[in-house]
Amino acid sequence: MSTPYAKLPAWADYGLIPLINLIVAFAVAGLVVLLVGENPLRAAGLMLEGAFGSGRNIAYTLYYSTSFIFTGLAVAVAFHGGLFNIGGEGQAYIGGLGVGLVCLTFDSILPWWLTFPLAILGAAAVGAGWAFIPAYLQAKRGSHIVITTIMFNFIAASLMVYLLVGPLKPANSMAPQTRNFLEGGQLPKLNWLIELFGGTVRSSPFNLSFLLALLCAFLVWLLIWRTRLGYEIRTQGHSPKAARYAGIGETRIIIITMMISGALAGMMALNPVMGDQGRLQLDFVTGAGFVGIAAALMGRSHPAGIVPAAILFGMLYQGGAELAFEMPNISRDMIVIIQGLVILFAGALENMFRPAAQSLFASISPRSMGVAASRSGGA
């Protein structure tokens, strides 16, 4: 049996179990808060306040979420193809190079709405290219993609440091970053969107790439569930043997899937680089590539789950930053813990509560369980 625990109703499978896992993750995080001598409930309240308390806070929350939507989608696409792309961090970092080069080249001659599509292409192409090598090595030489993508994260980091302290740094500057982009290399802010709903935002980094992220979420859904390619990716991911039977080329699917994944991760760079900082600088990814893993696991690799999961993490990032003002003992690193706990409980331990949930369901509605059991018994 490929799925030993497949006997829960769908709503429990997709709703209840993730919810239980999430609650446990937060409960453990609450223990850490207790451990440092603060009240977890008050912390949670402050965090919510910090994330949604004002228009500006909401704008920041959505700014962070934007990055996580991209990286979450990237991880999810790879998951669908049965691949674990742990290299989103590096693909996003290197994707910044695509954005940066496009902006530095065109910001003086093109308006932003012409630079933007070019930057999207640049980010996606560089991210996809960075994912191509591990994909090729996996498909053709059997190198474990988890290990190679980790290695590529570090190689990307070294490469970017080299470029930013060297070739890309303006001659008269000390800081390891490019020159500031002109207006043609900056995305418009979306503060008006919040103000439309009555919030007030004086300044925030919330920008147009949020809408691009939502569009990508829709496109990923379209790709995975509505196109022939997506069908092939899912078939390969669920059952390589069935894929071979169906005449689906394994090499081709591995490479295409990883390149799409890398392109999505690369596009994450648009948000901080072109949308906020207006220049390419060190370490702008700040772990978003890894948050993507958590978002994809929590969102069950479905865009409709990933977007809320990404917003949840955006909320944690923004709320956590505000929380740190009120409770100096709790810095933004609290989020890293929560993120780790979510990955642990929603990912590695996802089946821990399943047997309990199953026996619970069996005791409530023996009939529905009985039908499922006899079916699988006859299979």
Binding site: S2, T3, A6, L222, R226, T227, R228, L229, Y231, E232, R234, T235, H238, S239, K241, A242, R244, Y245, A246, G247, I248, A372, A373, S374, R375, S376, G377, G378, A379
Partner: protein
Amino acid sequence: MAENAIELVGINKSFGAVHANRDINLAIPRGTIQGIIGENGAGKSTLMSILYGFYQADSGEIRVNGKPATIATPNDAIAAGIGMVHQHFMLVQNFTVLENVILGAEGEALLNRSISRARSELRRLEKEYGLEVDPDAIVEDLPVGLQQRVEILKALYRGADILILDEPTGVLTPAEADHLFRILAQLKAEGKTVVLITHKLREIMAITDNVAVMRQGQLVASRATKDTTVEELAELMVGRRVLLRVEKGEAAPGDVMLSVRNLTVKDGRGCTVVKDVSFDVKAGEIVGIAGVAGNGQSELIETISGIRRAESGTVSLKGTLLDVTRHVDPGDLRDWGLAHVPEDRHHVGLVLPFEESENAILGYHDHPRYRKGPFLDIERIRQSAREQMTRYDIRPANERLKTANFSGGNQQKIVLAREIEKDPDVLIVGQPTRGVDVGAIEFIHKRLIEMRDAGKAVLIVSVELDEIRSLSDRILVMFDGRIVGERKGDASEGDLGLLMAGVEQREAAE
């Protein structure tokens, strides 16, 4: 000391709804070789796994040397003097022979002494039973026959008095098998008790003292080998089941649609599993390939349908020669009119987490009917899935339901509907009704006959002799990778049973 090494009393074991062992009673006298014979899935391996502590019986008693024994783990079995040679060897491939032999029986925390002890013990066993094998060889470098010897040595090193061998000759060449039998005879001479599980009648006749026949979880007969015949055993093994009658008229074979010539195929481990096989299938006939599982049938149809590469030989489809020694795209074969219902529907023929309608297009997702540019035409796909479900009486009739939630029979109908509906010229079906309920069996058989009557070439592979006999116009029997005989569809069970057991081939060779 009791006379019987092992007594099994009233053993029962179920896996979910499957009653794998039903009230088994068996006494095995000490110092004899006991054969246990039966078709695949008759419950032989389950019974032996219970004896070795891998499973627990639901009820019943095991007595070892006359005393009731609780065997809850392999450790208990080892302590009771029971050793087992598994069908799939339980060896660590990159360990030496010595390391494999002492694993779990090291005796002390440091290896130095256990290794030198094992070395001298192996030398003794080697002399006593003719079990020569280089103790310092790495197991993965050894041929299969020697690996099996390591398994036997493992059991003997642990002091086994009772040795169970599960289908030991399946992976051996005839010469290796003969050597194994000499070893077993030697073990018997030394007073050990041997239990030999097999489905090969020849082996039973050649080596055992007593034989027990299992069928559908039950022990149907026990005989002294000298008092029985191959014919009787074949009949007991297959049983006089009520033949599922399928109404069918005379076949009207037409042109050759599928032609296989001198096909030779190796499996993943590099063993040649299909050996120089040639046959034709004509339009308007059903050709059945009979044989005990594992005799190359699976690899044969996988090669024909483009999933596996051949070493040599050719396949032609409607007169077009396919280069099967290179990669053939199964998608192209579909376009050229070949449809394939694979043996393993759970992992190959279906993607269980998919919706039914998604599985209804597996392999045909590029078909113009189902696509709109790069997109799938979801409406059309669901619509045609609904129609198929009605025509093939697939229940529950919900094309959005996860495929894993359908019963075995309905899953098989999903695959069959998909492959038949594309109106192929050649249809290959592996195990048409494995794990399928009786009602669905009849339905599926009727459809296959209809295909034949519509002038299609149908090739079926089944380990169910009944099924082969009731469907086929011609029957080919495979044994050890070769086609060892061809019979008409009305051949007798006994006749086929002998072919399947490799008896005639053996006689011809001698």
